[in-house]
Amino acid sequence: MCKRSTVFLAALAVLCGAVGGTVAVTPASDAALPETASGTFIQRKTLADVDVTITSTGTFRFEKGRLFEWRTLKPLPSTFTATPTNYAITVNGKTTTRNLKSNVDEIAKIFEIKEVKEFVKGVKSEPQVGFPNKVTVEFKNGDRLDIEMKR
């Protein structure tokens, strides 16, 4: 139930399997989860070991139990799509698919690989209930992911 709710929040925490992080994310009720959500995002990925922050913008789409799509428009158009059975990255019309279990019903599971979750130091989201506007994921190696979303 806890996982289900964190669902996040919108996409992102997801990606990192943030639910498994050490920072508590206040559970929300299932009712708080939208069946669908879409909007725009600004993502800042800070890579600690090279001290570089990569910024990208784009759109996202979330369909509960079916699809999570993270479409980067700038600086390089590409699409990351996760379905219950696969995830795929499409660049210039070429798609690379990986058969990696995901469950968009529980965003937190998109990155099912629990080991990835364990790289996460913590997750902060605002607001803590319902679909978040802002998500921060801190990684144990110093990397950081800041995402702002607008529905």
Partner: protein
């Protein structure tokens, strides 16, 4: 008798010396069924079988993947199975060794010179929501991350990783595979019993645990065989002892029987080890037939009041049995030569022991009058008996047209329903290929990996490429940097590393437990790699051997059968010659009994739907040997005592061998049924019922003589 004792002492001494010699070298017995016959690639097949002998998997099936993971975790905890892949640990181990690791797709793009495509895909990964798994300092293109994410797909296409477990789905059913690795038989049986218990406790459709892999089959067969051997051997011993007591009305025969059987086995084992350093275990299984032959010798020598009194039939019995088995000595199959040597040496030991035994007194068979009355009786009863036997024989022989010969492995081993269902499901999911395997024989593991890559197989090299391929990948990545580095840096802000501090991943020296398991599953025995290979795969490389275990087993059983069949004909011919020498014109009376027993037994196998296999065929040698014993003794002195001794000898053998018919293992069950019917018909034909009738009809004097003998015997003369 003194000579017999001296010869026996020499034999025992020689056997002891041979055994002592082998014990010093370390006694070894071959247990692999594939070692029975030398076939094409049988060495590789044995290595394949040995490498997989202790491997097992648990396949979990259910409607909810989450539940399967929970069940898997419970099983891991309960049975201390470290089956889940610790991917995080593996990633940590990989981090400093990723220099030459790129996914198969990326490698193909790089080789095709499509550097732009690779750079774009890398940038997309970087700008995407997924965090890098490895430092971008040495790997700005995230190629190692791409490799890591493709590992599971490469290892088992169609399967993915969930919480460390390989999972897949077919329709609405979910499957989870737990690779147990090497298991002891005890542990495998414990897991199997636990799985069956848990399956029974789950609600229908919730989850089902299937046990797959050779170790579970071996464990189940072993526990079943132990249970059967314990039970059936007790019943056999009790029956044999009881029959002996009924024959002699005392237990004084027991020491002689035990010593004779013991000496027979000791001499046989010594002879076997003297000529075969590593005999096959099947030889000892077949050698159990010695008990029946030893019982014959002991019973007849005791019932006659000493072996000297039945020296002639005893010697004839030995000679015919030796003639029966002797052709097997010239078989081109080692296991058959071993069986022949073991049985012949054992027979000689039992014969000499019977001769050397101190003459027994007051241990003559009892109840001869009853037997005479029952078996001969008055004329009407005798006629009905003869008609009944005749009809039985005709009915049995009619089954010959239904006899089937089988070389199929299923005729030799068929798993229980639980194991068969599990294997069927795993085969359908096919995570590691079909029934064929390619055995890649490099001098080192690296060489084997290079061969695997060169012939285009996707085995271990799909997960851990060879060092040579990793070096090639480094060169390709350098070209990528040269071609796209500048643009990529401008786009992402990541600089191209001047010096790569990472090393290579050496499959021969992995230390990570998960990767070790992967390497062991492909290369269980040193430098060779065994890879499931697709149908139709061929390679001109002589270091790549394509193995089809099922076909190889069929070929092996076929060769055994054909060889045993040919030798059986030779045995019959040798017996005919010997019987002509011994009995001249009467030889047909002896030979027809054996022939009739063989035909009737084959017919019964046909009626019962038991296929004729190489193992059941071997039983015919025993049947011929024992059957002739019955005829020889019956006719050597056709008195009630002899008939009674032959009857109890037959019943003792039946109690011993017939019990095998109640075992679960198809091979022993088939042998048990064959021997039971074989001995029954051999005994039936050995009685002087048929020959007496022939003598009665063809020679009134002979009939009269027969009746006189019977009446004399009835009076105890």
């Amino acid at each position: 008798m003194k000579t017999a004792r001296i010869v026996l002492a020499v034999l025992i001494a020689l056997a002891g010396a041979a055994l002592a010699w082998r014990v010093c070298e370390g006694l070894r017995v071959e247990t692999d069924v594939l070692a029975l016959v030398e076939t094409e690639h049988s060495g590789s097949l044995m290595e394949l079988a040995a490498g997989r002998a202790r491997q097992g998997q648990l396949l979990l099936e259910g409607g909810d993947e989450e539940q399967l993971v929970k069940v898997a975790n419970v099983l891991s905890e309960q049975f201390k199975l470290n089956t889940a892949v610790d991917f995080q640990k593996t990633l940590r181990y990989l981090a400093p060794r990723t220099r030459g690791l790129v996914s198969a797709e990326t490698r193909e793009l790089l080789r095709a010179g499509k550097f732009k495509d690779v750079a774009n895909a890398s940038a997309a990964r970087l700008f995407g929501p997924v965090p890098p798994l490895f430092s971008v300092k040495d790997d700005p293109f995230l190629l190692a991350m791409d490799y890591a994410m493709s590992m599971q797909s490469n290892l088992a296409p169609g399967w993915s990783l969930k919480d460390g477990y390989p999972v897949c789905e077919r329709g609405d059913r979910h499957f989870l595979l737990m690779q147990c690795g090497d298991l002891s038989l005890e542990k495998a049986e414990e897991i199997m019993q636990g799985a069956e218990r848990i399956n029974g406790s789950f609600a229908a459709g919730f989850a089902k645990i299937w046990c797959c892999g050779p170790v579970f089959h071996t464990a189940r067969s072993t526990s079943s065989a132990k249970r059967e051997i314990n039970l059936l051997s007790v019943i056999s011993v009790v029956l044999v002892a009881l029959l002996g007591w009924m024959l002699f009305s005392s237990w004084r025969f027991v020491p002689q029987l035990l010593v004779t059987v013991g000496v027979a086995f000791f001499v046989a084992t010594g002879a076997l080890f003297a000529f075969f350093p590593c005999p096959h275990v099947i030889t000892f299984v077949f050698g159990v037939t010695l008990i029946g032959l030893a019982v014959d010798y002991v019973y007849h020598s005791r019932s006659a009041g000493g072996a000297g009194k039945v020296l002639r039939p005893l010697t004839q019995s030995l000679a015919t049995s030796l003639a029966c088995f002797a052709p097997l000595l010239f078989a081109d199959i080692s296991a058959m030569r071993q069986m022949a040597l073991f049985t012949m040496a054992g027979l000689a030991g039992a014969y000499l022991c019977a001769l050397a035994w101190r003459r027994s007194r007051g241990d003559r068979p009892t109840g001869g009058d009853d037997i005479t009355r029952r078996s001969r009786g008055d004329r009407p009863t005798g006629n009905i008996f003869a008609i009944g036997v005749g009809l039985l024989v005709i009915a049995a022989m009619c089954g010959i047209c239904r006899v089937k010969v089988s070389f199929e492995p299923s005729a030799f081993y068929s798993p229980g329903k639980f194991l068969a269902e599990g294997e069927k499901r795993l085969f359908e999911l096919n995570p590691m290929g079909g029934g064929k395997f390619a055995c890649i024989k490099g001098k080192t593991l690296q060489e084997s990996l290079e061969i695997e890559e060169a012939v285009g197989l996707r085995g271990l090299s799909a997960v851990i490429p060879s060092l040579r391929r990793q070096s090639e990948n480094v060169v390709l990545v350098e070209k990528l940097k040269e071609s796209e580095g500048k643009t990529y840096t401008e786009l992402t802000g990541l600089k191209m590393p001047q010096e790569d501090t990472r090393g290579f991943l050496d499959a021969a020296n992995v230390e990570d437990e998960s990767l070790k398991k992967v390497v062991r599953s492909f290369s269980p025995r040193g430098n060779e790699i065994v890879v499931p290979c697709p149908e139709g795969f061929q390679s001109a490389d002589t270091r790549v051997v394509v193995l089809d275990p099922r076909q190889a087993a069929k070929k092996m059983f076929a060769r055994l059968f054909i060889s045993a069949g040919k030798l059986f004909y030779i045995s019959l011919a040798a017996l005919a010659v010997l019987l002509i020498v011994f009995f001249r014109k009467k030889f047909f009376d002896y030979m027809s009994g054996v022939g009739g027993a063989v035909l009737c037994t084959m017919g019964m196998l046909g009626w019962l739907g038991i296929p004729l296999t190489c193992f059941t065929l071997l039983c015919f040698f025993v049947m011929a040997g024992l059957g002739l014993d019955y005829v020889i003794f019956h006719r050597s002195k056709p008195v009630p005592e002899t008939r009674r001794t032959v009857l109890y000898s037959f019943l003792s053998s039946l109690a011993g061998f017939g019990m095998l018919a109640f075992t679960e293992f198809p091979v022993t069950r088939g042998m048990g049924v064959t021997l039971a019917f074989g001995l029954f018909f051999a005994y039936l034909y050995s009685g002087d019922e048929f020959s007496r009738r022939r003598r009665v009809t063809s020679s009134p004097e002979a009939g009269k003589q027969g009746r006189t003998n019977n009446s004399n015997a009835s009076r105890g003369e």
